[in-house]
Amino acid sequence: MKSLKTVLLLLFVFSLCLPLVSAQDSFPLTDPATGARPYEGRELRIINTEVVPILAYEHEILDPAYEEASGVTLIYENMAHSDLLPRIQTTCAAGGDDFDIMFVEDGWAGALAALGCLEELDGLYLAAPGDSHPEDFTARAFGTVAMAKEKWVGIPTLVAVGMFAYRTDLFGDPDEQAAFQEAYGRELTVPQTWEELAEVGEFFTRPEDELWGFNYRYGTPNNILFDYMIHFGFSRGVDFFDADFNPLFGTEAAIDTANFFVGQDFLALQPPGRESYQFGEVLQNFTQGKVAMYGTESWAIPLLLDPEASVVAEHTAFAPIPGWRNPETGEIQSALLSAGPAYMINAHISDEQKQLAWDYLQLAHGKEFARLLADQRGAGHRVSVLTDPDLVAKWPHLTANFEAMKVGIGRPAEPWWPEAENAIGRALQEIAAGGDAASLMADANADIVEIVEDAGYYDEGIAYVSVVQREEFVCAKMAELGLDHDECM
């Protein structure tokens, strides 16, 4: 009996090691031609935030394999996400070389580029392209996540796409379907429009059973603005700025959206405490079975499907996020987003260290790893992965993610964006606390004008970089690097 247990245990341990072994095989040595390990014994320092499930995966599988293959030691400095920008910004301003690679969210690249601490990757790429394949991203995603305006500065670690997670056990329950049919006179389906979302949400909101309709993030200015824009605003035609950098948060569409998204009716369909929820609590409510559906991002998929982390993992499925039905055309417009962090190289480190950093990026975050990641955790952000028939068969939501990444809109990447984001997020929070949407949005809009003015933008005539322009930047960069990109024909 005891020996059987031992054998089983050994088998279990062995099975754990399997992905490691296969991952190792997939990494060529640093110089495939000679098998040399030029960086052996060196250290690579990465400043990171640890909380994203995909990155946890990176540590489990990818990093040991890279260390084994290259002889390099990886050293992580992990920080709470909210403390990361202050830390990186301070070090950059000081010209510090405390880390070689940094985790940079798309909204921050502008501020860091202005500090001159983002290394342009062109030279490193041309000298040793490796497995990096910058053309293997959609133009929108690459332009938002990996570039600072026309400069190429990063390799995306992940691209977040707005998604809708829902409980199949509730939506598929015949009793629920019948009850819904009776109450609303239509079939119970995963909502496709805002109105349907509100209806279905109302239907499932049963506080006495500790069940609510859905959950969004209202907890911090950054979060609330994020969900406001990606799940609702964009679909209604709200944008951040016009071409001259005039903010557009006082428009009718923006106020309408605010009235809906942070209106008391909509809030009432969410679990108590919603005004303070950030991503963690929202996710927690879903994984503990307290909500029927919720707006999430693609990178949370591994966690939502992990039975050790979610009591409803078996009953979780994904759908595109609901949109707004344009009254004139009758079409459903969805609000989409391509955003996320990239790994960027610190410009203040030595040239040898930059090469080492590039070596890690192109190997560890190249095509090969992306495939591995998608295969095992269902999250992908490279075109080659999102369109791979085998992977799509295994993870059907990848197709929807691909579509989203082709048209998604990213946040502005200006140095003052964090402050502007804060101003508008604050207004949204005040509306959630019962404030008047029209006047608060107008005030916030005026605040942003002041922030932009303060940064000298109106005087210097700097124009807003639209998503279309970002695509143009990407195409120009690809041409410069001698690469063909599918969307740049």
Binding site: L115, P272, E419
Partner: protein
């Protein structure tokens, strides 16, 4: 310093003068090193901040024009700054008075019991020993509207779930309560230590004269404890004034800015929004206010105590 130098004849010899000089200034030998370090680590930052506050400096800027008091003006005209100043005042008033009343009460009570006094005191001390960030996170967990122990307990009593940290109307109070939870034991400890040193004689004579215990408390205990009370109040005021950790992890200033403190706001302004000069101006303003408050408290304190 050799004692025999002093015994040398010839009162005004060079060595004699040197000796008397070193004798007169020997305190610097003890105080000097500490003072030197303090000048570097405290004065320099203040001078630096004052300097930065008069210019327009951001992390990214290469030109750094002198702007005089403009940063101060902008700060004082900024709604968020004023709101966080108001919040900070709220913290100071309620957290200090709350922790003081509770701590004082506990100190009075613990003198009425003998058995178990040590173990009770030990338990009450625990919150002071915890890092504020830990305390904040722990209470976040306790107060979670769906999973927290508090709502679970209220549920058992048939009271519907409360969302105390999420409501703009209650969040500030909750943070203050948690702050009080952590720091009333400090007041308790200080006051209790003070009570242990009170002389017995005035009490005995008062009791012989049949004075009521309330009057004893008011006329004897309170005046005698005045210096200790002021120390406790001073420490609490200062700590409440610079609250950062606990708010950072509990609400991060939300919802809708109702819990943002000055420290948090200035941290954000400097390090996230990249407005170094404005943050420096704000911190100088903050320093002036706390300097004023503590100077006032000192005047009360030094009436009773001779220092130096």
């Amino acid at each position: 310093m050799k004692p025999d130098v002093a015994t040398q004849p010839g009162g005004q010899s060079l060595s004699r003068r040197v000796y008397s000089l070193t004798q007169r200034h020997r305190h610097w030998f003890f105080i000097g090193p500490a003072l030197l370090i303090l000048l570097t680590v405290v004065i320099y930052p203040i001078v630096f901040s004052t300097g930065v506050s008069l210019f327009r400096v951001t992390f990214a800027s290469t030109s750094r024009p002198f702007v005089g008091l403009q940063n101060f003006e902008r700060m004082l005209g900024n709604d968020d700054f004023l709101q966080s100043a108001y919040n900070t005042l709220y913290y100071v008033v309620f957290s200090v008075s709350g922790s003081f009343l509770l701590g004082f009460g506990a100190a009075l009570l613990i003198r009425r019991i003998s058995r178990g006094r040590n173990i009770l005191r030990l338990v009450l001390i625990i919150p002071i020993t915890m890092a504020p960030i830990v305390v904040g996170l722990m209470w976040n967990w306790m107060l979670d509207p769906l999973f927290g122990l508090i709502n679970w307990f209220l549920g058992l009593l048939g009271i519907p779930g409360q969302t105390l940290l999420a409501q703009a109307s209650t969040a500030r109070l909750m943070v203050v309560l948690v702050d009080i939870w952590q720091w009333y034991p400090l007041v308790f400890l200080i006051i209790e230590a003070g009570m242990a040193t009170l002389p017995r004689a005035p009490y005995e004579s008062a009791r012989l004269e049949g004075v009521s215990s309330w009057m004893i408390f008011r006329r004897i205990t309170l005046p005698l404890l005045r210096p200790v009370i002021l120390v406790a109040l001073l420490l609490r005021t200062v700590d409440a004034f610079r609250t950062f950790d606990i708010v950072r992890v509990m609400t991060d200033g939300g919802p809708a800015l109702t819990t943002e403190t000055l420290s948090l706001y200035l941290y954000r302004t400097a390090f996230t929004f990249n407005k170094l000069s404005r943050a420096a101006a704000g911190s100088i303003l903050m320093l002036l206010v706390i300097g004023l408050i503590s100077a006032m408290m000192f005047r009360f304190l030094y009436k009773d105590i001779e220092v130096g």
